[in-house]
Symmetry: C2
Subunit: 712 residues, 2 copies
């Protein structure tokens, strides 16, 4: 069924012997030559006269080609490396590749071939060669606005474009137009048992005749039905096909637009999820569905419309026609996943949190109302569990705990944190109800990350005076002209990353105890500590509005971080480990918080700080990988089936772990690696009403003060 990446445009006519290292002496015979492809390092001996493209395919080196060796699409460009490659025992020279023939000359004249580039379908092997297969064959004037990821994703897209010349109808051979099209697609490209998208059937006649029997078929070779499908058909040579990878978050929808033929990210953009108007967080959206008869439908419609608008946005940015998008990959948390697919999420709001579907799904994009090419397909990654969604699967694919031996912790913090822990031996996953505190909700002066929001905080351990930065202003609050610089934005509240920092700094400066209680005795040391009924607050900014951190705020953060840590800790117990080797923070929250403060707070377990990395929208990167390489789909489907899901609420010791995790950083777990980087304050007991039990004056070493200065 269906060719892989090795579909020869025509049956191989040249003998080949694949050479495995160690290579024999490169005594190129009069008839054979040694060819090494870079960067793959694959090599083999080929008869002189073999087209370079054919040699590449024989070796399994992926070189794109749409025109099937007619030197018209320009997708199969390569570069000859000149010189003596001692390590490979090859002397590669431009004399060892054929001169440009008339077809290649014509392409160069009409379309322009960059200096040094050759069309591998036309250039033939004349002697030993080192051939570079460039990663960015640019054929049309694609504009690259953003590099969403530095990762190089090996390409094996589900959609391939294949130009063919169809036999004209003949009264003696009454095969239909479609049937002759299929026959030549099998003959030239190796596609067997092709099916066709039904909407194309009435169009075939016209397209074949308009193209004067030369047409380009878009073939989808990753249909859930196993058989390859003709999903698009165009007169003449069509030389571009795009795909989108999309992560539907509760707050933000993020999308990449990418060329399926070059792997190039053409545009990346995001938009807010319009479902917010039905409810800020996931559970309020589930409630909306439960309370309103048309709630599910309205939210499905809203998110699909937003996705369609975002497609318009990335297409405009990339100067791409949305009807040239042939493949779409979506991820999202389970509730977003269900609502996007038109499935009632009510079951996910109550035990046993049953998913309607956990496996991967495929649709025609139009079945989900996504406005792209009529024959485009849509793939959703599998969900791991009722609260660990396709987004977590995407992040898992992106970070690949199962691909390495280190014990990797992968957390995506939202109102519900998704936690994955494991290595190549075993991967476990859970979710923890962290609530919205990390997003600034439930915090007295909390707000979403937006201009004017405090995003960084430092507290001088001696004076207890704070300094901070706000989003949209470059200066720290203690710098000259901060007031002038902040005029436009104002200082409006505290966003998630700053909440982590201010609580951690309050702890490090002794304002709060390890139990998170603001020490009332501190009122003597600083006017910033102020009584607030029976408890105390810390005055962060005495302006309009007045921004304080209250005891309740600290409790909210403690509850949230304890929930996350308890989930992580349970997974560590399942894995039988005391520490993790490496930590990945996925999601926007992870990108803005300082790993050190997260660890001081005990949000994450002890670990080398250099091993704590923010990976941005890893879910989206996973979607992109699944879009560009269909083997990644099989990979994550297989891994998700293997992942063990832990329902934290059902674990008997969850409660105790949670209580221990309320303390900063933790009541019983040591943080030795953190302690090497940061001097944690001595333990100090303060009762709930702010009276210190241990009033030992704080002692700080010079080193510590120096370290703090460096930090800033």
């Amino acid at each position: 069924m269906g060719g892989g990446q090795l579909n020869c445009p025509s049956p191989c006519k040249f003998g080949v012997s694949i050479v495995n290292a160690p290579v024999k002496a490169p005594e190129a015979s009069a008839k054979e030559a040694l060819v090494l492809f870079m960067p793959s390092g694959k090599r083999g001996r080929f008869a002189v006269g073999t087209p370079v493209l054919e040699a590449a395919r024989t070796l399994g080196v992926y070189v794109e080609s749409v025109c099937g060796g007619r030197a018209t699409c320009g997708r199969c460009q390569v570069e000859v490396q000149e010189g003596s490659f001692a390590k490979h025992k090859i002397v590669s020279s431009l004399d060892h590749i054929s001169h440009k023939g008339p077809k290649e000359e014509r392409y160069d004249r009409v379309r322009g071939l960059p200096e040094g580039r050759r069309l591998s379908c036309s250039a033939t092997i004349q002697g030993d060669l080192v051939v570079d297969v460039p990663q960015d064959v640019q054929v049309n004037a694609q504009v690259v606005r953003k590099a969403a990821t530095n990762r190089v994703i090996e390409r094996n897209a589900a959609v391939q474009l294949c130009y063919v010349e169809v036999e004209e109808p003949d009264m003696h051979k009454p095969l239909g137009d479609l049937d002759r099209l299929k026959a030549v697609l099998e003959k030239d490209w190796g596609w067997k048992d092709l099916l066709i998208a039904p909407h194309l059937i009435p169009q075939i006649q016209g397209i074949l005749r308009k193209g004067n029997w030369g047409v380009t078929a878009a073939i989808h070779r990753d249909m859930d039905s196993s058989r390859p499908f003709i999903i698009g058909l165009y007169p003449g040579l069509k030389n571009e096909a795009y795909g989108i990878a999309c992560d539907i978050g509760s707050t933000t929808i993020a999308m990449h637009l990418v060329s399926l033929l070059s792997g190039r990210i053409v545009a990346s953009s995001g938009t807010s999820n319009p479902q917010i108007r039905f409810g800020e967080d996931l559970m309020s959206r589930v409630s909306y569905v439960m309370m309103n008869p048309d709630g599910r439908e309205a939210m499905t419609k809203a998110v699909r419309e937003a996705v369609n608008k975002l497609i318009g946005k990335v297409c405009e940015e990339g100067d791409v026609d949305r009807h040239d998008i042939f493949d779409c990959v979506f991820v999202g948390n389970p509730i977003m996943h269900h609502l996007f697919l038109g499935i009632d999420p009510t079951e996910l709001g109550q035990a046993p949190f049953a998913l309607a579907v956990s496996g991967p799904l495929q649709y025609w994009a139009h079945e989900i109302d996504i406005e792209v090419a009529r024959g485009a397909r849509l793939y959703t990654l599998p969900c791991i569990a009722g609260h660990v969604g396709a987004d977590a699967a995407g992040a898992t694919l992106s970070e690949g705990p199962y691909r390495q031996d280190k014990m990797m912790l992968l957390v995506d913090v939202g109102t519900n944190a998704e936690i994955v822990l494991g290595n190549s031996t075993r991967v476990v996953a859970a979710s923890s109800p962290t609530g919205p505190a990390f997003e600034g909700a439930e915090i007295s002066s909390g707000q979403r990350a937006a201009p004017g929001a405090i995003e960084r905080v430092r507290i001088d351990p001696q004076t207890l005076e704070p300094k901070f930065r706000v989003i949209g202003v470059d200066k720290w609050s203690d710098e000259d002209d901060f007031g002038e610089a902040a005029k436009a934005t104002g200082v409006t509240g505290i966003c998630g990353s700053a909440i982590i920092e201010v609580v951690a700094e309050m702890y490090l400066s002794g304002i709060i105890s390890e139990d998170g209680v603001i020490d009332g005795a501190m009122t003597e040391r600083s006017p910033r500590i102020i009584a607030n009924g029976r408890t105390f607050s810390y005055l962060l900014h005495d302006g309009e509005p007045r921004i304080t951190v209250t005891q309740n705020d600290i409790r909210a953060i403690q509850l949230a971080k304890a929930a996350l840590y308890a989930g992580v800790k349970l997974l560590m117990e399942k894995q039988g480990v005391e520490t993790v080797d490496t930590i990945r923070f996925a999601g926007a929250f992870g990108s803005f918080i300082d790993p050190k403060y997260a660890m001081v707070l005990g949000l994450i377990p002890d670990c080398e700080l250099s091993e704590v990395k923010a990976v941005g929208n890893a879910a989206g990167t996973g979607a992109l990988m699944a879009l560009l390489n269909r083997t990644h789909r099989r990979e994550i489907e297989r891994e998700v089936a293997r992942i063990e899901k832990i329902e934290t609420a059902l674990e008997p010791n969850f409660q105790q772990i949670f209580i221990n995790a309320m303390a900063l950083p933790n009541k019983i777990d040591p943080f030795p690696k953190l302690s090497q980087a940061v001097t944690l304050p001595p333990r100090k007991n303060v009762s709930e009403d702010g009276v210190a039990g241990d009033a030992t004056p704080r002692r700080r070493s010079r080193e510590d003060r120096a370290a703090r200065r460096n930090r800033e």
Copy 2:
């Protein structure tokens, strides 16, 4: 992939040894018994205690079951034959089957089990048995209005209903509802790699809960994509599934409604093709498309609407809900096929008569706007050539020239005759442009078959006086009270079958020569022969209207029959045969004409008259076969690919064969077998103006006259 007809409801728990004839002495051991299933004749030894259903499935005997052995669907009924079956060496007795258990008793009490019937899922083998598997297990009160065909079609429908009890969701095992449904369908019924119709995805949750986790899945196991599909899902036990087989003719659309679970034809009906308002015949419809920008769309809409109405009609007749129809098979000539599928038929109106699609196609029925179950599938048989359509493929499947050794001629006469000739070695096909003469068009007094139309004609060879019958009247025109009886209908014209007869009778009675010229000399013998300008006419009915057969009418019939015969003859030449062994007339025309007259006219080649059979709507029967048994789909797909298509117009000797075929019965071909049954008149030459060149008085033997009397 996907179970066949042998899906055991649970893994076989009993040993089995299949016995091939000759059977050993039936010494039923204490542990094993011999069971023979009728009418299939399959048999084997089974451990005592094996359920009869399981024994049947082990042997490949098709016994339906929906409930999976729960004794609730009643589909698996069998009957034990009592007595000593010497030929099979089996003594079968009711004592050799278990008594009804509580489940079977309950079914009998609630639903009623016919006398002698047992549920094979519950009854177990206790000794040697002869078990009859009835062909008409009636579970609901299905009304059988018509038996469309006497043929017994072995059942292997594409759709199967499978009741399962799905595991409830569990926080420890986060598989989705769909995923647990698939798991149990694999466990209980053997379905692997199931896919699901996308519209069902949002419904799964509700259906599972409504059925309290007991649901019936409709599985389609003949998807073009190879993987089985869940196309319907119902709470609890769903115990009926229907299909339609439909032949879209240019004039009439015919349909069977059939139970896919019992094979029973529930209703058969027809309606006229509303495209007639765009053009009477095929070519005028193609012209309409060419002349009108919306012509194709309007005709597609018209035929789909008519099909939907006809579905309503058969459903009403059979008391069936149209949403219980899960599978549809369509046939039609190429132009009807294309218009139904929304394909422009213009290319079929001009050389090289290119089909847009010749192979079989599958759709979701709703993609073609057919209103049945939302997940129903639609299959079209392949077309053989540009003028030999899916209807001819259906007729070929029904009559099966390739299944036997006789040289079979299969003709479907319409404005374009489709001709198939062959046997198990080789089959060839062609079409011939017979024009509309056989349908009464182009004939001065011609009309469609309708009340008042003359349908039978005899001419007394002595007096040259005619007698005839009209549609809707039982009496011949020379009988008493014919005038009274025909008062309601009148005598309005001549329909197709009578045109054949009157021309043949005119020839047999010497009124016309073998060249088809009305002999002017006959005016002396009868006032029925009347001058009509330079030529002569025969007065068939002197009423209002006055019905005559003109020289032009005879020419039209000669051209039509010569076209058909020339096509047949060319195929005979391709096959290298001088005669055919057996002839099948498909279509309405074939059902009404008398084979003898068709042969006297030279419409068909010489053959034993007993071997000329009208087979009615063989195209529709073929569609029915493909509906009830998916292996018939593979059969006709394979055979159509093998059939050699002859384009008659391209054959160099077509012209000469055609000219020879203008004569009655033929200028050069002898009709020895016809001559044994009918005395053909001596050759007589009459010039175009009706002057006989050979005025030899007609000599008729006494035997001939006696034969003619018998005929009448």
